[in-house]
């Protein structure tokens, strides 16, 4: 049976056919996937990330964690474009060393956050395509999380998810840690063990539904004793 479609407008191409010349332009950015999450507790902080590095339909590596240790009390999670993540962490390390040499003390988490904001803003017109989250202990020993946008706007939070599955994880954290939209629940402060378990569960869920998240989960737990790391396997498909 002849389809009437063919007679609608003979000169007009259908949407999914090539319609004419297409301009291809070099893009300095590429999206390498990955999700990062940070939670601040009373006297601890957790920074967790998956370890998958992808590009388009391919996976480049299954063992590329996105948490980078900055000082004994601060860890940064960077997701987005891997090239910019590497350069940014190198620049942060250099600036930390410069500060240490000039001031004879280590930078505090709050100071690192303020410094990162100006580093990112120095590229306001050609941004680093990185979504950063800093987790650590502040000067009083309490957990602190600072979340950033690609050009340096930041604020201190209690919990934050960033990266490809952030839109899936953030509502879940709002409900479980922030007790938002829950009725008749006691607001119990989060213990370290509960927080670690929650982070693991939340990433398992993210790996189910986000193609760029999976393979393994690296959890960094920051306490006054130091930074301890755990690796948990996730879905590899």
């Amino acid at each position: 049976m002849l389809s009437s479609n063919a007679f609608v407008d003979p000169g007009k191409m259908k949407d999914y056919h090539y319609t004419g010349p297409v301009e291809h332009r070099f893009s300095p950015y590429s999206f390498n996937g990955g999700t990062v999450l940070a939670v601040a507790g009373e006297d601890f902080a957790i920074v967790a990330s998956d370890t998958r590095l992808s590009e388009g339909y391919s996976i480049h590596s299954r063992d590329s964690p996105k948490c980078y240790k900055l000082t004994d009390t601060t860890v940064i999670g960077c997701s987005g474009f891997h090239g910019d993540c590497l350069t940014l962490t190198k620049i942060i390390d250099a600036r930390l060393k410069m500060y240490k040499h000039s001031n004879n003390k280590t930078m505090t988490s709050g100071a690192i956050a303020a410094m990162l904001s100006t580093i990112l803003y120095g590229r306001r017109f050609f941004p680093y395509y990185v979504y950063n989250i800093i987790g650590g202990l502040d000067e009083h020993g309490k957990g602190a999380v600072y979340s950033f946008d690609p050009v340096g706007s930041y604020q201190r939070d209690t919990y934050k998810a960033g990266g490809s599955a952030s839109a899936m994880l953030q509502p879940l954290l709002d409900n479980q840690i922030g007790f938002k939209n829950m009725e008749g629940v006691q607001h119990v402060p989060l213990t370290q063990d509960k927080a670690v378990q929650l982070v693991k569960d939340v990433f398992i869920s993210a790996a189910e539904r986000d193609v760029y998240t999976g393979d393994a989960l690296r959890v960094c737990i920051i306490t006054k004793e130091g930074i301890s790391e755990q690796t948990v396997p996730l879905r590899k498909d």
Binding site: R25, S27, P28, Y29, S30, F31, G56, F81, I91, A94, R95, M98, S117, T118, I119, L120, Y121, G122, R123, R124, F125, F126, P127, Y129, S147, D149, P150, V151, G152, S153, Y154, Q155, D157, S166, A167
Partner: protein, 287 residues
């Protein structure tokens, strides 16, 4: 002069060149890897491309989508007893809500406040830079900077980068020798002094509400209520501000200190941060 040259003394102009190089900003496509932009302000710029449209062109293929945080409705008005500043607390990045508890009132110094609307990073960075300049002014000239002068400094910073894609609509509010001060400064270099301003996507709604309730000789509590209602109605109707029913807001009152005060006492009180709910009965507002 011969003696001057022989003595090896550097003239003031030369010394100043070392501390403050004549060209305050340098544009490269990457930041300096020796000083990392710590000595002079540096901005990296993509070569050969118009900076204001650059991000839009990159966001098309390969799954790249760089969304920057934007802040929304803020309002401020002057009345006999001071200045009221009311802001919502939502930050959106494209269609995703980045945060529902952003602090959009930026303390420039203990008696000057700036509000944030437009790009969050632009407001935070330039108002922090303004705080540095106001502090230097205070140290160099031994008196506090006026609201007019502070807003002019910010306006000139914006004019320096006009056309490059900055997005900032801010109100500089404070109390100085002339009394209460309120200036609106935006990324195109507009600087206006006025009695009432509102910025952001929800500003039209806020203007309507505050214009209908404003009187110059209001009592302080009435003024709090008016500011709160302005934000509540704006966030009720605007998708990018606050929330549909529950919106978080911050209300600040800038006033003259009444008792002998130490030099850096805050001239403002954080009146309320809270959640305001608008009740709806059969299509009419009750709040």
């Amino acid at each position: 002069m011969a003696l001057f040259q022989v003595s090896g003394l550097k003239s003031y102009a030369e010394l100043r060149e070392q501390i403050l190089p004549a060209r305050q900003t340098h544009l490269f496509d990457r930041t300096n890897h020796y000083n990392f932009g710590t000595k002079t302000q540096e901005f990296a710029v993509p070569l050969g491309v118009d900076p204001s449209g650059f991000l839009g062109t990159c966001s098309r293929d390969g799954g790249v989508s760089i969304d920057l945080n934007h802040g929304t409705t803020t309002l401020a008005f002057k009345f006999r007893h001071g200045v009221i500043v009311a802001v919502d607390s939502r930050a959106s990045a494209g269609r995703y809500l980045a945060s529902n508890d952003v602090n959009k009132v930026i303390e420039i110094n203990p008696y000057l406040l700036g509000t944030m609307s437009g790009s969050a990073a632009d407001c935070q960075y330039w108002e922090r830079l303004l705080a540095k300049e106001c502090r230097l002014y205070r140290l160099r000239s031994n008196h506090r900077i006026s609201v007019a002068a502070a807003s002019k400094l910010l306006c000139n910073m914006m004019l320096g980068y006009r056309g490059m894609g900055l997005s900032m609509g801010s109100m500089i509010c404070g109390w100085d020798k002339e009394g209460p001060g309120l200036y609106y400064v935006d990324d195109r270099g507009t600087r206006l002094s006025g009695r009432m301003f509102s910025t952001g996507c929800g500003s039209s709604y806020a203007y309507g509400v505050v214009d209908s309730g404003y009187r110059e000789d209001m009592a302080v509590e009435e003024a709090y209520e008016l500011g709160r209602r302005g934000i509540a109605h704006a966030t009720h109707r605007d998708a990018y501000s606050g929330g549909a029913v529950n919106s978080e807001y911050t209300l600040v009152y800038i006033h003259q200190p009444t008792t002998p005060v130490p030099r850096c006492l805050r001239h403002f009180s954080l009146v309320q941060t809270g959640v305001s709910t608008i009740g709806r009965v059969a299509g009419t507002f009750q709040d």
